[in-house]
Symmetry: C2
């Protein structure tokens, strides 16, 4: 992997006009776009694109594509919902789904969609509140003030408000969303074509995936009316064309200090890779228990494999010595600037070493934090529900500002939606997951650790997992509601074994979390703010912040690239999917595609790549042209883009998208999904009639 990265946020000196950056909507470099591409997005253009964009609260991006609340996203973003709606008899993952009428649209048990209605800069308010504070005081005050701002903003269940920490604390912005909690499945193709090529092709290009699905947001049991939405382009993306991606990149680490990157490279990533790899081996073999076990664990397997491949790519970027040297050099340059100026030195000079010291502290408590409090030791949906119930009973009676962050008033609607979700929970899979994580708990902390002894006693991980999962009543949503409403009294008198375990371990989890938040996180936060401010003073504020799963806009263009000396052209065609078909999973085309081959225009562009700067979380983002029309649907990055976590290299980093024409061609000629087509392109359907799917 070639990696010649210049990180704007760090060094300030951008190579002329690189398509780098996941820009916030309130700091978009329209002039820079104009200089390179001759088009300058206006404020009105930006506002319309922002409001036409959507976020899946679970971790993806999406877009509004009709005035009647139709939302387009990736199949792999909706697959949680598709799997939850499936049964052994009606397997929509395997067979696809197409609602013939509005009444056939099925409610997703756990999907929430957000539309970003407003951004307010609250940096001054927060800085004022925390001025002169450090340690626990700093941390408590910051959180209380954030909770207050969010609560004041969230005036109803229809509104979601998040204070977003940008530039590692250099700025704080309040993001106000319109929330949609009634989301229904409209259309999904078969998994076999949505994820054609499977894990081997994931993060690769050339590619042949129809990774699309459509859902609809409802309000008061009717399709929600949406003022801003994207229209469909004629002919989709062309080679060299200017493209924008509006979506929610989850996390980048371009602004981290060298000490933080080393911790990621040497500790976090190797540990995470090893754990994910072991889960992958376990779940792959679990699937061989039978077809039903395969069905109920497909979603988990996909998540694990996707994460594994992504982290491998990031780790490779960080162990690339030349690349890492650029990060070291950039930090040294900034620190020298700070050292050379007595005023800057006084304000910011100590920040890097403070962060490095905190990282060393974190190393010492990492295992306990991960395994006791952050879920790695008790990985189970049912335990997670029990823990939420137990903590809610303690937290909700407190003042809003005093609560653990995830129990504040502003977050309650989302919290309850998850807690009371009707998504199915499969005991056999729960037992397998819980046994696995209990085994890791014992392995990582050691069999003599007091917490391990407290949890396992004389039981084996399998014995305990089986007893808990088979004994708990928490799969029943009504039981959860009763416990939630009953508060502390209902919790303490519950005989449910999962609740009792959650009560048992709660003090340990709170203690390690308190230690982390007061002695480590607060130091890193405080000093990261200082580093960010030092950067602003050294290089100005015309830079983009690291990704934070908040709405961003990137610009770029359709461009091929060179991979190990081989030229990669930017488009694939539908014909390529047929050439790649072996009939064996994951290279087996579904029957609908085999049957429809003769009807298709096989030269239709299928997937394509652009220079847009994206990262995980951008899946499902609309790819639009300068007229804010859909030209594609982002679903991946190439393997080189994974290093984008730490820096962007325009020569090889590529966004991978489904071409808008492929979506139309498939909906029309393979799936006969005319309702959707008519919404996407009113009155412009091609004349072909096809047999409806599924």
């Amino acid at each position: 992997m070639k990696r010649l990265v210049v990180v704007a946020a760090l060094v300030g000196a951008l190579p002329a006009l690189a398509d780098e950056g996941m820009w916030t909507y309130n700091n978009f470099p329209s002039a820079k776009v104009k200089a390179k591409y001759g088009f300058e997005p206006s404020q009105q253009w930006l506002d319309n694109v922002r409001l036409s964009s959507a976020r899946l609260a679970g971790g993806c991006s999406a877009s509004f594509v009709s005035p009647n609340g139709l939302v387009m996203t990736n199949h792999h973003c909706a697959r949680g919902c598709i799997e939850q709606l499936s049964t052994a008899e009606k397997d929509y993952i395997a067979n696809g789904f197409s609602a013939k009428t509005e009444a056939d649209e099925l409610k997703c048990p756990a999907m929430e969609i957000n539309q970003l209605s407003e951004i307010v800069d609250v940096t001054d308010q927060l800085n004022k509140a925390t001025q002169g504070l450090s340690g626990k005081q700093y941390s408590d005050t910051l959180k209380a003030e954030m909770s207050k701002i969010e609560k004041d903003c969230a005036t109803s269940d229809q509104v979601r408000c998040d204070v977003v920490t940008l530039y590692q604390g250099g700025k704080y912005n309040l993001y106000k969303y319109r929330r949609f909690q009634d989301v229904r499945l409209v259309f999904a193709p078969e998994h076999a074509i949505a994820f054609f090529g499977g894990d081997p092709d994931n993060f690769e290009f050339p590619r042949y995936d129809l990774d699309v699905s459509f859902v609809r947001v409802y309000q008061d049991d009717k399709p929600a009316q949406i003022a801003n939405y994207f229209k469909w382009s004629k002919g989709g993306a062309k080679d060299g064309e200017l493209t924008f991606v509006s979506g929610h990149p989850g996390r980048t680490s371009r602004g981290l200090t060298v000490a933080e990157l080393e911790y990621q490279r040497d500790v976090v990533m190797p540990k995470t890779l090893v754990t994910l790899a072991e889960i992958r081996g376990m779940i792959t073999e679990f699937q061989k228990r039978g077809p039903e076990q395969q069905r109920i664990s497909n979603n988990m397997k996909f998540g694990v494999e996707n994460g594994l491949k992504a982290i491998k790519g990031r780790h490779e970027a960080l162990v690339d010595k030349k690349f890492f040297a650029t990060k070291v050099a950039a930090e040294q340059e900034l620190r020298q600037k700070v050292e050379a100026n007595p005023e800057l030195k006084k304000k910011y000079g100590a920040a890097w070493d403070e962060i490095a010291k905190a990282q060393e502290q974190l190393k010492l408590i990492r295992k306990e934090l991960n395994y006791i409090e952050q879920g790695q030791g008790l990985s189970s949906s049912l335990f997670n529900i029990a823990q939420r119930l137990v903590r809610a009973a303690d937290e909700l009676p407190k003042e809003n500002g005093q609560r653990l962050r995830e129990y504040t008033d502003a977050g309650l609607p989302a919290f309850k939606a998850q807690l009371f979700s009707t998504a199915p929970i499969y005991p056999e899979l729960e037992i397998a997951r819980l046994e696995f994580s209990l085994t890791k708990l014992r392995e990582e902390l050691g069999p003599d650790h007091p917490f391990v002894k407290k949890v396992l006693g004389k039981e084996s991980p399998l014995g305990l997992a089986t007893r808990l999962v088979n004994g708990t009543q928490l799969r029943d949503v009504a039981v959860r509601e009763k416990l939630f409403e009953g508060g502390k009294k209902a919790i303490t008198s519950s005989k449910d074994p999962m609740i009792q375990l959650a009560i048992l371990v709660d003090p340990d989890g709170r203690a390690i979390r308190k230690n982390y938040e007061e002695n480590i996180e607060s130091v890193i936060r405080k000093n990261s703010e200082l580093v960010a401010k030092a950067k602003f003073e050294a290089y100005g504020t015309n830079v983009y912040p690291d990704a934070t799963f908040s709405l961003r806009l990137s610009y770029g263009s359709v461009q091929g690239y060179t991979d190990n000396g081989k030229k990669v052209t930017p488009f694939t065609q539908m014909a390529g999917a047929y050439e790649r078909n072996t009939g064996e999973d994951p290279f087996a085309l579904p029957k609908s595609w085999i049957d429809s081959k003769s009807k298709l225009k096989l030269s239709t562009p299928m997937n394509f790549v652009t220079t847009n700067d994206i990262i995980g979380g951008n899946s499902g983002s609309p790819m639009i042209n300068k007229d804010a029309e859909i030209v594609g649907l982002v679903f991946d990055g190439n393997i080189q883009s994974l290093g984008g976590d730490f820096g962007f290299d325009e020569s090889v980093n590529r966004t991978v998208a489904v071409h808008s024409d492929a979506i139309i061609e498939a909906l029309a000629k393979i799936y006969g999904a005319n309702r959707v087509l008519e919404e996407l392109r009113p009155g412009k359907q091609p004349p072909v009639k096809a047999k409806p799917a599924g």
Copy 2:
């Protein structure tokens, strides 16, 4: 983990009298031992200990403990044999094994034992042969000369001769062994006590394992008569006592250059960890298919978990920044010495950069080398047999010096013993392993790689694995013998699908191997020789070489240590095993132990630790006192000792051994293994009678 390492082989300046070093028998620092412990091993003492020591060719150490060929090693070293002799009905892993008479001793299908009879320095001969050569010429000549030396030495099937590369090529020694290929199982306890604590306790201390087994070497169908063997001590190891370990440490990397260590740290180890972790997850879940599947895969699971934990420990050592800095500093010091002396500079100055360049080259072909030629892509015992047969047909007709190294005349007896081993091969496990490795092959090289297409065609990994394993006849030893004897003609006309696959992939494997050997390995070998010679010139030759799975002697003493501020005493007692018993695997004592508790002297020392410098491969080594009597049996190192791959830290690195008294106590009172006892301590058995086990 505290890690204050001074590496003798690198910096020369040893802290006074540290117990560091895995010394060769022809360069043992007897005077140093005398200075610290007051005892100076004589040449006669050394010869006796050397001849009383033994090696399991499969990768462990052992010792002769009676004149009638009785050999002591670890249970985990003999577990391959124990598992191969077991069936679903007679499970010696679960239930243990104790031969009541000589006739009951069962022949191990694939165990070979070696006794080191002679060491000859052949450095001059090899240096002379390769003088002035480089690249392919250097590499070919070196190998041909080694093969010649080995062939001249190996005068019969009873003799094994290996040219051992010491000091990364600074010296070459010919090791001549007496070979024993008829090895029979005499005694093994239950797996539950041999490996009490399982993976969680592996590489940990305090510990409570009876990791012992006894086998016997036979000659002409009678117990072999052995002149040199270890007698049993009275009372075993005492706190502070001088101890020697004579065994076969497998591999250390203390003499590697910084570039080589970086390659290990950043590429090899993370990749290996991830692969092993995934196999672990797979095989753990595979075991849930049923008790028979568990039984046939236990050995594989143990190997994977043991390797995983060991590499984790090594990786942690290399990502320890302070530790790595000592390696960098030591190399810089040596290079400065070389640079400062024009003559040295001319001879050695370029060596480090040449090695670094070769490492960069290796990165580029690593995946193909591992997956096409080194077995990671076609991991299957049956494929391995097919490949050996296919290559033997091509190699054996060649001149001895022209063959691939593993087909030379000197290695043929061992080669044939493995090829025609009657060890069972389980189709279900073979399919699972092969499917897994084919999946990794496709994942790592990509589905479009020509080799992947050639192997898989349109088949899935599972489909191909099933067809090959179910279709091959190679489980039948007679079929293998016929193909071997039929030579090239029999091979090319074979319709066996596994043979056909081995023929298909052979050119690819040979090509990548040739590239590696001629362009990378030869450069590293040649320049490692130069680095080693530079070290000799700078620091003298009174240093020990890296471990190479050849016989070494280390000295030390029984010593506790401090672990994260907590004092760890050097002994555990048998009582501790009962305290630790939960009744649940891996903390479940076997029934024999539960039943015999009242008969035992519970204060008998169970396991203990010493400062001896060891590494993997030393498992099964005798721990002896200055009178060359058995005081313990090495079976592990503590977690800190894993960093010993790169450097020794006497403050925390510890060897873990079974105490000799625990072996006697258990044999007498739990297992009633009186035949063995009478051989170990003729005429000195305790009066207690116990019900025989098994």
